[in-house]
């Protein structure tokens, strides 16, 4: 029993330490992700996603990136990366910190080697002098016969690919944290209103915080040339009715409070009216394009507003009155600010001013910091792997007759044989020059 389970673990370990599996997983992930850009996704286009055939839906292809089996693929890749990295840790450590000088000729890299002949003492000195000048980290052999050395430069580059691989795991962990512990929601609100954070519309997760959000002002601002500048919302956070934080946010300038971030997402205009019904005055606020309506009490008259012809300099509103479920308006017209009209003899309507409805996204994602850490590691690892390639030169000096001998030096060819060959040539020509 015991031996059997050990066998399975060993076999699993073996399977997960293979890069072939890793690359296959990466290939599958790329392929599946590509399919997800062709099949409509619920998160992007709910209508179309619903029209996709039943089998695809059941298999999770319409919410592919959040489906269980897509996450399973990412999880397998992570295990793979961790196993691979663990296995390589020791050899990377040895290669970086425990280089030993060759004790016999066969230990000098064979593919890329050259021989320099000369006087023993001056060869030894020139080699050391050259390596010191070029900033190599040199280890000399303990014994003096044969004298040998190993020298390395940019040795931390050895860690590049390990850091790169682990950063991928960090990224997946960050994404997981966000989807387990975070939430995502939104609200649309007019200036002057306050709403509890628990009242926002949620699309993911749950809200446990209890503060309220108060919208002090909401503005759609334009530049002198007529282009839109940005949308601005001046917002306060209230804890037990007390203002504890306040900021102005705009698109690309979010505002954070207690790990919850508020993003300016969109903006819609509206209009403020007063409806005067036999002396009783009611404030009415309508959003643009009939997104909201006003039904005067005791009537079956519906009022909607349209602001398409309005500007902030000359506010005006197009209104339409519908009766019951009638498809055509029974009264339409345009109002400028301050103007009053009579609506079907039932009430008087005054257009007071424009109103702005700010659309705010609310998000809590405790994984974001981990994501940025992962991004940093990924980039740092890649820079080490590609721009900080270690160079290892080793050599052994064998005496021939008397004071003369031959130095055999070689370099590990690494990822760029052409460049390492050049480094060796430079070494040999400099040392040759120095001893002559």
């Amino acid at each position: 029993m015991n031996e059997n389970s050990k066998g399975i673990i060993d076999r699993l370990w073996g399977a997960f330490s293979s890069m072939k599996l890793g690359l296959t997983l990466l290939g599958i992930i790329a392929f599946v992700a590509g399919i997800g850009t062709v099949i409509p996704q619920e998160a992007m286009d709910q209508g179309k996603a619903q029209a996709v055939g039943g089998l695809w839906k059941t298999l999770g292809f319409t919410h592919l990136y959040s489906s269980l089996w897509f996450r399973l693929l990412l999880g397998l890749l992570c295990i793979n990366l961790i196993v691979c990295s663990t296995k390589r840790l020791r050899s990377i450590y040895l290669r970086t910190f425990k280089l030993t000088p060759p004790s016999k000729l066969a230990q000098v890299p064979q593919k890329n080697k050259q021989v320099v002949k000369g006087e023993l003492a001056s060869l030894r000195e020139s080699v050391q002098e050259f390596l010191r000048q070029k900033g190599f980290r040199v280890t000399l052999s303990d014994q003096s016969n044969p004298w040998s050395f190993i020298a390395t430069k940019r040795r931390l580059g050895n860690w590049g690919s390990l850091i790169t691989h682990l950063s991928f795991v960090v990224l997946v962990v960050g994404a997981l944290l966000g989807s387990l512990l975070g939430f995502k929601g939104s609200f649309t609100e007019e200036a002057g209103k306050t709403l509890p954070i628990q009242a926002i519309q949620l699309s993911k997760g749950t809200v446990s915080e209890t503060f309220s959000v108060s919208i002090n002002s909401a503005e759609d601002r334009f530049l002198p040339n007529g282009e839109r500048d940005n949308w601005y919302t001046d917002m306060s956070i209230l804890e037990n009715g007390q203002e504890v934080a306040r900021d102005t946010l705009s698109v690309n300038h979010p505002f954070e409070y207690k790990g919850i971030t508020f993003y300016q997402a969109n903006f819609s205009n509206g209009a403020r009216f007063t409806a005067d019904m036999g002396g009783q005055k009611n404030p009415v606020v309508l959003q643009d394009q009939g997104q909201s309506y006003y039904k005067a009490p005791g009537t079956d008259l519906y009022l909607v507003a349209n602001l398409s012809g309005s500007s902030s300099l000359k506010p005006s509103v197009l209104y339409q009155v519908y009766k019951g479920t009638g498809a055509d308006p029974i009264q339409t017209g345009q109002l400028t600010s301050g103007q009053t009209i009579d609506v079907q003899g039932k009430y008087k309507l005054t257009f007071d001013s424009l109103a702005g409805f700010t659309g705010i996204q609310v998000k809590k994602d405790p994984g974001v910091a981990v994501i940025w850490l992962g991004c940093g590691l990924l980039l740092g690892g890649l820079l080490l792997a590609f721009y900080w390639q270690p160079l290892v030169i080793s050599g052994i000096l064998q005496s021939e007759k008397g004071k003369r001998g031959s130095l055999t030096v070689g370099v590990l060819s690494g990822k760029m044989p052409d460049s390492t060959r050049k480094a060796l040539e430079q070494f040999v020509s400099s040392v040759t020059k120095m001893i002559s």
Binding site: A30, A33, G34, V38, A43, R228, Q361, D418
Partner: protein, 282 residues
């Protein structure tokens, strides 16, 4: 005034790019040193014209060149020209020009054929695009894509030389004899991909930072993001296959060609065939 100067720069860019492409090809066949120098000269002119066109566009519109497909194609072409010129000077590799220059040339032809003047004018940028991170995003994309175009050219040269030379016999005649050795071409392609891959990574990261500021979501699996990830995985596959299985030479060259096809799809295919967040960038 500035706008018409910009249009003049655009057409100078088109003329210079077409000329340098033709001259590089003639140089390959004729070995005439003067023609070779002329080709390089026109490439430099093209880069200068492109840079001026972009700067003028930025002055007149007041924002980085990313409000539509025309502006982004101009930066893409600039990236290719800049990385190519660097490779030509650094590695004394003029024959590469005949294989890289057709790409910016085709991109410019695409602009002329498919984009009317109204599609080329600067557009107002929506608030979401007003971010410094977006500038970094575009700059890194420009150089990464430019470098991938150069590795594509190197891959094509490798495959051509390989098919002409067959099994290792060296030719002393013909066009491919002017190419560097297969080994040099191969290692150079690797170096160029090794330069571009971290940049592509940085491009994706800056895009994620920007999206997080703008929408509160660093990654939303929109088609453009997903395809840039696929491109990234293809090049990661290239690097691994090369390192671990010794996929050098022919297979590596094919992967460089294939990877660039993914770059082009990310660039065009997504904008024209698939819907998503980035479609407003057209």
């Amino acid at each position: 005034m500035l706008a018409s100067l910009e249009v003049a720069m655009f057409y100078s860019l088109v003329v210079a790019t077409t000329l340098c492409m033709l001259l590089y090809m003639i140089w390959l066949g004729s070995k005439n040193e003067f023609i070779g120098r002329l080709a390089t000269f026109f490439t430099i002119i093209a880069l200068i014209a492109d840079t001026f066109a972009i700067i003028l566009r930025m002055i007149t519109s007041g924002h980085p060149p990313l409000s539509n497909g025309y502006e982004f194609l101009l930066t893409f072409v600039g990236g290719i020209l800049a990385v190519y010129l660097f490779a030509e000077f650094r590695y004394k590799l003029r024959s590469l020009g005949a294989f890289v220059m057709p790409i910016p040339c085709l991109l410019l032809m695409f602009i002329i054929m498919s984009m009317g003047p109204e599609e080329r004018i600067a557009q107002a940028v929506p608030p979401a695009l007003k971010s410094q991170w977006l500038t970094f995003h575009v700059i890194t994309a420009m150089f990464a894509y430019g470098a991938f175009a150069v590795s594509f050219g190197l891959g094509i040269m490798y495959l051509l030389k390989l098919s002409k030379e067959g099994n290792g016999e060296k030719l002393s005649q013909g066009i491919v004899s002017r190419f560097p050795s297969l080994e040099v071409l191969d290692e150079l392609a690797y170096k160029v991909v090794g330069f571009a891959f971290p940049l592509l990574t940085l491009c994706i990261i800056t895009g994620a930072i920007w999206a997080n500021y703008a929408w509160g979501t660093y990654w939303s699996w929109d088609p453009k993001e997903t395809w840039s990830l696929i491109t990234w995985i293809i090049y990661a596959g290239y690097l691994h296959a090369r390192l671990m299985y010794g996929w050098k030479g022919k297979r590596a060259a094919w992967m460089a060609v294939f990877g660039f096809a993914a770059v082009l799809f990310t660039f065009f295919g997504v904008n024209y065939f698939l819907p998503g967040l980035h479609s407003y960038a057209q």
